[in-house]
């Protein structure tokens, strides 16, 4: 049966909202398909505003991978702003896709990609606007199967009640596997109904179906155990790892938005995974091992991506892009190819070493030479050992001196505040470091217009990292340290004006911490916050700390746990963590040892250059490190 477009009902509402263009679709790279020619239909959601969601690589990749399949249709949907939400409720317009404006409730699956936990309330808005019951158990065969993925899905327990299924890890292959299961199940006449399908998905251990697992609690509030509640459901669910990224060169047809978005560029992921071993970094832990894309594939992707999109910027993405075994040749090859075409190249994450400056010189050859960014993360040498960020102060000064010697005038330094074992002195060391940077810059360049911008983020302990047991630092302590740091920077007249300090107050990090390491009881808080009007929690102007605090108290009344229990409490080795049944491949004992090493200030090297240190991922997941060099070079593009 054809599903009608909602556009006629939506169009008059768009006259009355801000930035209506974000809701109309029609982007270059979008793939309209015929509803009736598809056996399986996916709505893919990024649970934030279009301007943030559209550039998301995960959604773009899955959109293209699915739409390349015959008889499969995938459309996209994003969170609508409160002005449109109000009008949609008033006029009875349901959550729609931007591609063909079809109602989300009509699809077979709703896939939601969670890069951050702060999209949880937006999930509830979308489910509600789509006409789906919020609780997975209340849904019938008529409703789409709601599947969550993305990094936050590595602990999906706070949204376990709201989603039907969860996928861990790389989506490219598993999305097609799920698609096949759904196709077969539908072709057979949907045997067993909704649960019949969910059982098939859960059986192999590659898809987590939360309602097939029961959580028992101890009297003190800790988890006693998480166990399957029916036959045929495995005890643990494993993550997915795509080997050989050259086989998956997506996105090929990047989506080019008409609306202004946060990243206006063609992005190519030059490798996936990272084994630098920074202990705070969840991404580095859950995406192991390192798998490089070859220089040739990168060159081809950039060529077709730029050609298809008309973008003027190319981003070479990864968790630590300078670590690609052939990054020098990639940078030089691309800079040569695009010389004189007003195409700029960027490398978003950079390491602290002199090689990086050479790279940055190369990449900025065709564009501006504005600022260089380095991330020492910890202010003191001691703290950097705790977090395993192996950068000495002298390394940093040498690196920035090289940069200033090469004509750069500004450096940005990223740090975190609230790290385990951190003291006031560790944070105040950031001021000393920034002053040394300015002093070095003035000396090398002989100029006074040297600037150093210090950006500080609040540390939030994340699941599947060595810090998953750590107590989060209370926001009052974090704020106090940040204010002391601000005063220390300002007090020195000869440097203060050359140092810019950027940070946020610590409160939002407490909620991020609650959602990161929460269990199913936290789902009640999410729901209460949403019912109280909570939306767009990743946006400072929408996030209300006091609402979260109040709803947490109400939702957890009568429980032996509270906000502090979930956040600032340190866990011991034996405690069952809410995500222990979800297998990222990391060996739990190794993580614990690494947590002990952190407290003992013992560093750990990178397994790409030193022997395996047995984190457990490769043997557990049947994967291996895939790095070059391939020895290939990028050839000049032939003129068309």
């Amino acid at each position: 049966m054809p599903v009608e477009s909602l556009f006629a009902q939506l169009e008059p509402l768009l006259e009355q909202v801000t930035k209506p263009i974000q809701y109309v679709g029609g982007e270059l790279g979008s793939t309209p398909k015929d509803w009736d020619d598809a056996d399986v239909r996916w709505a893919l959601m990024y649970p934030d505003a279009y301007e943030v969601g559209l550039p998301n690589q995960g959604v773009q990749i899955l959109y293209e991978v699915l739409n390349e399949q015959p008889r499969v249709l995938a459309e996209r949907t994003y969170a609508v702003w409160p002005d449109l939400e109000r009008l949609m409720r008033e006029h009875g317009v349901s959550q729609f896709t931007v591609d063909a404006h079809r109602p989300v409730g009509a699809f077979d699956l709703l896939g939601v990609s969670f890069a951050t936990e702060l999209g949880y309330t937006n999930l509830l808005t979308a489910l509600d606007l789509a006409g789906l019951p919020l609780e997975a158990v209340a849904r019938t065969d008529e409703h789409p199967v709601v599947v969550a993925g993305g990094h936050a899905a590595f602990n999906p327990e706070p949204i376990a009640e709201f989603v039907d299924a969860v996928v861990l890890g790389d989506g490219e292959e598993v999305v097609l596997a799920i698609n096949e299961v759904v196709r077969e199940w539908k072709a057979e006449g949907c045997p067993g109904g909704r649960d019949g399908l969910l059982e098939r998905l859960a059986a192999g251990g590659g898809v987590y179906v939360p309602k097939f697992y029961d959580v028992d609690y101890l009297p003190d509030g800790r988890i006693a155990r998480v166990v399957p509640n029916r036959a045929g459901v495995p005890e643990r669910v494993h993550k997915h790892t795509v080997m050989d990224l050259d086989q998956w060169p997506y996105p090929r047809k990047p989506l080019v938005p008409l609306a202004e978005t946060v990243h206006e560029r063609y992005s190519v992921e030059i490798f996936r995974g990272c084994t630098r071993g920074c202990r705070f970094c969840q991404a580095g832990m859950i995406t192991r091992p390192v798998r490089e894309r070859s220089i040739e594939t990168i060159g081809d992707m950039v060529q077709t991506g730029v050609e298809n999109s008309g973008f003027t910027e190319v981003g070479l993405l990864s968790l630590s892009s300078a670590d690609h075994s052939e990054i020098g040749d990639i940078a030089k090859g691309l800079a040569d190819r695009y010389e004189g075409t007003n195409t700029s190249l960027s490398l978003p994450s950079t390491r602290v070493d002199a090689f990086n400056v050479t790279l940055a010189d190369e990449l900025s050859r065709n564009g501006r030479r504005s600022g260089l960014t380095f991330a020492p993360e910890g202010g003191s040498e001691r703290l950097r050992k705790v977090i395993n960020k192996m950068v000495s102060e002298d390394d940093l000064i040498r690196t920035v001196s090289t940069a200033f010697g090469h004509g750069w005038r500004q450096v940005k330094l990223y740090f975190m505040c609230g790290l385990p074992t951190e003291t006031d002195e560790d944070v105040l060391a950031i001021a000393d470091l920034a002053k040394r940077v300015i002093a070095a810059g003035r000396e090398v360049s002989g100029r006074r217009d040297i600037r150093c911008t210090v950006s500080i983020g609040g540390f939030v302990p994340k699941p599947h990292t060595p810090f998953q047991w750590a107590g989060q630092t209370d926001h009052e302590v974090v704020d106090d340290r940040l204010h002391k740091l601000r005063d220390a920077v300002r007090s020195d007249r000869s440097y203060g004006k050359s140092i810019g300090l950027r940070y946020h107050e610590g409160k939002p990090s407490m909620i991020e911490g609650l959602l990161s390491r929460g269990d199913r009881r936290v789902g009640r808080i999410v729901r209460e916050v949403w019912e109280d009007g909570g939306r767009f929690d990743g946006w400072g102007e929408h996030f209300l700390y006091d609402r979260w605090l109040r709803c947490a108290e109400q939702a957890l009344a009568g429980e032996p746990v509270d906000l502090a229990w979930f956040t600032t409490r340190e866990r011991d080795r034996d405690e069952v963590l809410p995500w222990d049944h979800l297998d990222s491949g990391l060996d739990r004992d190794w993580l614990w040892e690494d947590w002990q090493d952190a407290q003992d200030e013992i560093e750990l090297d990178d397994c790409r250059w030193t022997p395996c240190f047995d984190c457990g991922v490769c043997p557990q997941m049947g994967t291996e490190i895939q790095t070059g060099p391939t020895g290939q070079k990028l050839l000049p593009l032939s003129v068309v």
Binding site: Q16, P20, I21, G26
Partner: protein
């Protein structure tokens, strides 16, 4: 060149269109000239963009190129490279004289779905009969009053399902916008449409003898041109 903004693309803002157009120039391999500056931009002059939410059959812009090109080739390549809904309708090599000087009036179609033809006719008659129709515009520097009647060269009811009004407005500084014509109808006759009107710019050019002359006609004399898919 003249281009159209059709269908859902009417919801683009002028900035949205600019980004899309500059990307299309790249995708279509137009040999555009760049400004010399810290961040070089293609040299494009956008002339009097229609407001967000309004469709248009007659938007105009000029692009500087570094070599002589076949107009039809550029027109079709750009049309292909732009998202659906942006259509390059006509493209000529610019002759002497400024195109901006020839864009003196706009003809707007205001479609008022659900409105009653008699009511609309009365409102339009009242508007035309008025000496002046002073509408307010909020600006950064406070409220400013504009006379919508003085710039209205022509107005009549041109359809009944939906009821449509055609209004020809002389461009002044600042130019009166279609929503200000609606504000004028409200002011003069208390007219409120049941739903926001659908607005389309039909033409721009010089007003002569009760019609709008094609502003690209002078360029076409002696130059190559590419009359495109008009009235698509």
């Amino acid at each position: 060149m003249r281009f159209a903004k059709r269908g859902r693309m009417r919801f683009t803002s002028h900035r949205d269109f600019q980004r899309a157009f500059e990307r299309a120039l790249r995708r279509a391999h137009v040999p555009m000239a760049f400004s010399h500056g810290f961040t070089p931009h293609p040299k494009v002059s956008y002339l009097g963009a229609s407001p967000t939410g309004a469709a248009s059959e007659a938007e105009y812009l000029e692009v500087s190129v570094t070599q002589e090109c076949d107009p039809e080739h550029i027109r079709s390549a750009l049309d292909e490279a732009l998202p659906d809904g942006f259509d390059v309708v006509d493209l000529v090599i610019a002759g002497p004289g400024a195109l901006a000087d020839r864009l003196q009036v706009s003809s707007w179609l205001l479609e008022m779905g659900g409105a009653d033809v008699a009511t609309v006719t009365d409102a339009v008659d009242g508007f035309l009969a008025a000496e002046s129709v002073e509408v307010r515009r909020r600006t950064k520097n406070g409220t400013r009053t504009l006379d919508a009647r003085a710039v209205l060269l022509h107005g009549d009811v041109t359809g009944d399902d939906p009821v449509a009004v055609t209004a020809v407005i002389r461009h002044e500084s600042p130019t009166v916008r279609p929503d200000e014509i609606m504000a004028g109808l409200r002011l003069v006759a208390g007219f409120e449409p049941p739903a926001p009107p659908r607005v389309t710019r039909l033409a721009q050019g010089l007003w002569s003898n009760g019609a709008i002359d094609d502003p690209l006609a002078p360029d076409r004399v002696g130059g190559a041109s590419a009359p495109g898919r008009r009235g698509e």
